[in-house]
């Protein structure tokens, strides 16, 4: 099986599902995907799909072309296909919010979205939140400043969701933040700190 190592941001996925591949990360060096098995499903050969579909979209500002199986979720494609493992898989049924990404600027559960449905769209993951020079986004900095996590597994989803929550104008007071962030569960129960972080980041964004 031939490996594909490309520094180009246009990725063509070979039909034989050759891996690993690499994706340029904003603010950091290219990172190589490790050939670890998927989390929930047994390793499967994508070429088993008899219905491959070509897609072209932007992920974190970079144009990407790929060929996917229709059943491949945006979540699995980001993690397994592009190696963007910042987006986490929790419940895989839309209950926990840890897979939250932005599609055309709107927060959505990547586990409830097919990759083929994102053809022609712009997707932003947690890897695309920080500035190009690596400076943390105000929401990321606020989560550090307010100690808004323990284990950290839900944090990427919390951060992406909070960025959208603030942009929507829903980060106005603790009760409103709790309601509009209720799609992101934290089993460490860092909710008081998360609410503080979101409000602090909203204040900074508003003060600029």
């Amino acid at each position: 099986m031939a490996d594909t190592h490309r520094s180009s941001t246009t990725i063509e996925r070979p039909r034989d599902d050759a891996r690993p591949r690499r994706v340029d990360q904003p603010g950091g060096p290219a990172f190589e995907r490790r050939d670890s098995p998927p989390i929930t499903a047994p390793a499967r050969d994508r070429s088993l799909s008899t219905h491959p579909v070509a897609i072209a979209l932007r992920v974190n500002g970079k144009s990407i072309e790929d060929v996917v199986a229709p059943r491949e979720t945006l979540l699995d494609w980001l993690r397994e296909g592009l190696g963007l493992s910042g987006t986490k898989k929790g419940c895989n049924e839309g209950a926990c919010g840890t897979c939250t990404v932005l599609v055309e600027g709107q927060r959505m559960n990547a586990c409830l979205t097919l990759a083929v449905q994102c053809d022609g769209k712009a997707v932003t993951t947690v890897e695309g939140i920080a500035a190009a020079d690596g400076t943390l986004h105000p929401v990321q900095q606020a989560f550090i400043d307010h100690d808004a996590f323990q284990c950290g597994y839900c944090t990427p989803g919390q951060i992406v969701s909070a960025v959208a929550c603030i942009a929507e104008g829903h980060a106005t007071d603790p009760a409103t933040v709790r309601e509009w962030m209720s799609g992101n569960l934290c089993r460490c129960s860092c909710y008081p700190q998360i609410v503080e972080a979101v409000l602090a980041a909203a204040q900074r964004a508003g003060g600029r």
Partner: protein
Amino acid sequence: MEDFAYARAREMAEATAALASRDTALIAGGTELLNWLRLGIAAPARLVDIEPLGLDGISASAGPDRPVLTIGARATLAAIGEHPLVRTHGAVLADACLAAASAQIRNRATLAGNVLQTTRCPYFRAESPLPWGCNKRHPGSGCAALRGVNERMAILGWTEDCVATQPSDPLVALACLDATVTLTGPDGERSLPIRTFHRTQQEAVAEGLDAATAETRLRAGEIIVSFAIATRAGERSAYVKVRERASYEYALVSAAASVRVEDGAIAAARIALGSVAQRPWRLDAAESALVGQRLDRVAIRTLVTRALGDARPLSRNGFKKAMAINAATRALLTAGGAT
């Protein structure tokens, strides 16, 4: 998830033609369908994406008297919940959409998809192969919920074959507002009252159909196009959702009310309950009896209790009858403007 093919319908005719094949399913937001595919509730050979059709408009037309609110099938719960026209002419629907799911899901989930979602019964929503009976998944296999964990199941309209409830929040508001649903299919376009779109298990049997699976009047090959609400002058509405946590949870019971008050008394009232049966449950008897009543909690509660006299709780959900009475009373008082 089984493999399937994917295509986009560029015109309505393409979508309806594709649906002629029984192993084809439509996909809009996909927030419900993807979980069906994972669990084995559905296993279509092909998905047809109706995104290119649009069908997501929200408008109010100037009718002879009052505006008619029209909402496209693909309008998202987020768009409806925050739309000024819906907030003005159908607040109960806007509130029900915002209470229906998380902000993330509301950005994808569509009104028609939400209305077509199926029960949250845990025996139904399990991964194939099921280790228990579920007539809705496998007709003839029995209903494990009937004498099992049935706290959240129906208290009205059920049969021994199936005790599932319909869990949609927006559907309860649509039923309260006497919305009509417009469908298009092989035999052309038709509209029917949303109140009659779903069947209880008892109604399915009465029509000679399967109790567990004949949930809606959507015919093979039909697509929901839009919902229309003829608004009524002077009515104010409210949605009450009772659930086990403050946000992002399915209802144990919900209530949608629309009330017109004149000189301190109820001049018109509409009240629908959700998550008590396999369709929204309008309290017709209470609605007529409420006219002329003051916004008095005890009086309203008495009429609502009487209207729910035919409720038949299961072994573990007797609390849902009391909860439904209280939710309906609170929705009516809130809609009426009681302080």
